[in-house]
């Protein structure tokens, strides 16, 4: 009896889940917001013949081509729906999706969420000025569009992404005015045992770092962007050294002329759908904030709902691929999971994940941001960009006793705008915690997880329910 498996996302985890579930004779549906498979890490260029390709590391490119090739060969055997946004999921496994002006309700025996992560930034004065972008956004423009975001770019933040983006900009012929990183690489290098387990990826990272070093890009370790100058667009950025608590060390500011500031302080799990379906969550800031609790097969607290890849905690594309296969298999053969044979069949993927998770936790140590950095937002700094809610408006709400995300949202409108809080919620929670919120907790997620027009909702065919 073939099962039906519904997969949300077509990045490394989603593609491998689809391949594995289909190989086990499941009927597979894949919904993905992008027009082409690949997700963010394996984002495809709009013209495969030029650009994009040569800027990424050869190891990453080989993995990307192999996986996307395998998924594309599968596409006539599964129901693949690109440019389709999933905007509601219920515990029964009922998934609501929108494609342009049409919405539809999908049902399946199992749902595998592989919705990945989004970038986070720490608000600072001037960060809404055109020209301040997420570093991954700058990378996406380069990978998918072959466009350099600016003529002189400052890359800043924490973790490995700023280094990768700086190197890729250089390889594409761009000018990187400065690379400012919160932590030194030495802090990570101390965990040599864990790094050895991920030595292939470490080598890729070193090649990116070598590009930056050879280009002579000024590297500022322990520096963060503290203010952007320029009214119409970015004209320069002030970088300053911060101490272990994240406070600015006086007289360390340096002004760097640039037209783009690319920032990344890590990632937040796209866990809205899991939360909406009632999945139990855990909090772990460096691995993505609030992330779904999963077992070794990707099973959540809600029967039939699985989560795989970065959405279940940031661990990179290789873990996502292994986990996608494990969850795809488990979703296709739910009652077989207990059998020893099932486990033996997946032993390679289970071992691969085990090995890389140790490595990724060493990388995650780079993403522990000191709480003081959230004080970079001055009173007039906008925190919620959609609704223009400033840090002082939030602080007033905290002072009046509103310290949980639900009440902060009701009182200030932070998180109520177009992006659904995906840009500001982590910042609102962090600021609330600075003001003594014991545990800011979670905002109750409600449909719609994506903006959908009333006309599209009204288009729902009664027969599809």
């Amino acid at each position: 009896m073939p099962r039906s498996v519904l997969i949300v996302g077509a990045g490394p985890a989603g593609m491998s889940a689809a391949i594995e579930a289909q190989a086990r004779s499941a009927r597979v549906i894949v919904v993905d917001e992008a027009a082409r498979p690949g997700g963010q890490i394996y984002r495809q260029t709009y013209r495969p013949s030029t650009g994009g390709g040569a800027i990424a590391d050869s190891g990453e490119l080989a993995r990307k081509e192999r996986l996307i090739g395998a998924f594309e060969r599968l596409c006539d055997k599964i129901d693949y729906r690109p440019s389709t946004a999933a905007f509601a999921l219920f515990g029964s496994g009922e998934l609501h999706v929108a494609n342009g002006a049409r919405t539809e309700v999908l049902h399946a025996d199992s749902v595998v969420l592989t919705s990945g992560v989004r970038e986070i930034a720490i608000p600072f004065p001037g960060w809404t000025t055109p020209g301040v972008m997420y570093a991954g956004g700058v990378q996406a423009l380069l990978k998918a569009q072959s466009v350099l975001a600016g003529r002189r770019i400052v890359v800043a933040g924490a973790g490995p992404l700023p280094i990768v983006v700086a190197a890729q900009l250089l390889r594409a012929g761009g000018e990187v005015a400065s690379l400012a990183t919160l932590n030194s690489l030495a802090a990570t290098a101390r965990e040599l045992h864990a790094l050895w387990k991920g030595r292939d990826i470490v080598l890729e990272g070193l090649r990116y770092l070598a590009t930056v070093i050879r280009a002579g890009v000024p590297r500022l370790s322990g520096f963060v962007p503290v203010r952007v100058q320029g009214r119409e667009q970015v004209e320069s950025v002030l970088l300053a050294r911060v101490d272990r608590d994240g406070s600015i060390i006086p007289n360390t500011e340096r002004e760097i002329a640039c037209d783009v500031v690319a920032v990344n302080y890590g990632f937040a799990s796209n866990s809205e759908l899991a939360l909406m379906a009632g999945v139990a969550m855990r909090h772990d800031q460096p691995s993505g904030g609030w992330v779904p609790v999963v077992d070794e097969f990707g099973r959540t607290s809600v029967p039939g709902i699985f989560v795989a890849g970065d959405a279940a905690g940031l661990r990179g594309a290789l873990v996502a691929e292994a986990e996608g296969r494990i969850a795809g298999a488990a979703a296709a053969e739910r009652e077989e999971i207990k059998s020893a044979q099932f486990r033996v069949g997946l032993s390679q993927d289970l071992a691969q994940r085990e090995r890389l998770v140790a490595f990724q936790s060493a990388v995650q140590s780079m993403l522990r941001v000191p709480t003081g950095l959230w004080r970079l937002a001055t009173d007039d700094t906008v925190v919620c960009r959609c609704e223009n809610v400033t840090a002082s408006a939030l602080r007033d709400a905290f002072a009046a006793g509103h310290l949980t995300p639900n009440t902060i949202k009701r009182v200030t409108r932070a998180g109520m705008g177009w992006c659904g809080g995906r840009t500001c919620l982590h910042a609102v929670a962090a600021l609330a915690e600075l003001h003594g919120a014991p545990d800011a907790g979670l905002m109750t997620p409600r449909p719609l997880a994506r903006p959908v027009t009333l006309a599209a909702l009204a288009s729902l065919d009664a027969s599809s329910r």
Partner: protein
């Protein structure tokens, strides 16, 4: 350590291979605020505008200038008016010949 030298070599060797699209090859034009802008087939409106040095895509309800932030569709900062329809994301909409794009001001 031989591999270290290999790492350095490979880190720099890639640079020559990277090619960026230029406005001259196989492009077309669309309108931004009534003025022609070059784009490549398949390119997003936001990417084409950025390649032409245009960063402000929206003036929000409070009068703040806004441009691309996430570049992949989730932040909704780059909403502009495309062929008369407001709230289209410049980073997600593919540029087409003859398209008319305007800055979004306030709610429309």
């Amino acid at each position: 350590m031989v591999w270290w030298r290999d790492v350095l070599r490979r880190g720099s060797a890639n640079k020559a291979k990277a090619t960026l699209a230029t406005a001259s090859e196989g492009g077309f034009e669309f309108l931004f605020e009534g003025r022609p802008v070059c784009a490549q087939t398949g390119q997003s409106v936001g990417a084409a505008l950025l390649a032409s040095g245009i960063r402000t895509l929206r003036i929000d309800e409070a009068g703040n200038k806004k441009g691309l932030l996430c570049g992949i569709g989730y932040c909704f900062e780059c909403r502009c008016v495309i062929d008369g329809e407001p709230d289209r994301r410049a980073c997600m909409v593919e540029a087409r010949p003859g398209m008319s794009v305007r800055r979004q001001e306030g709610l429309s």
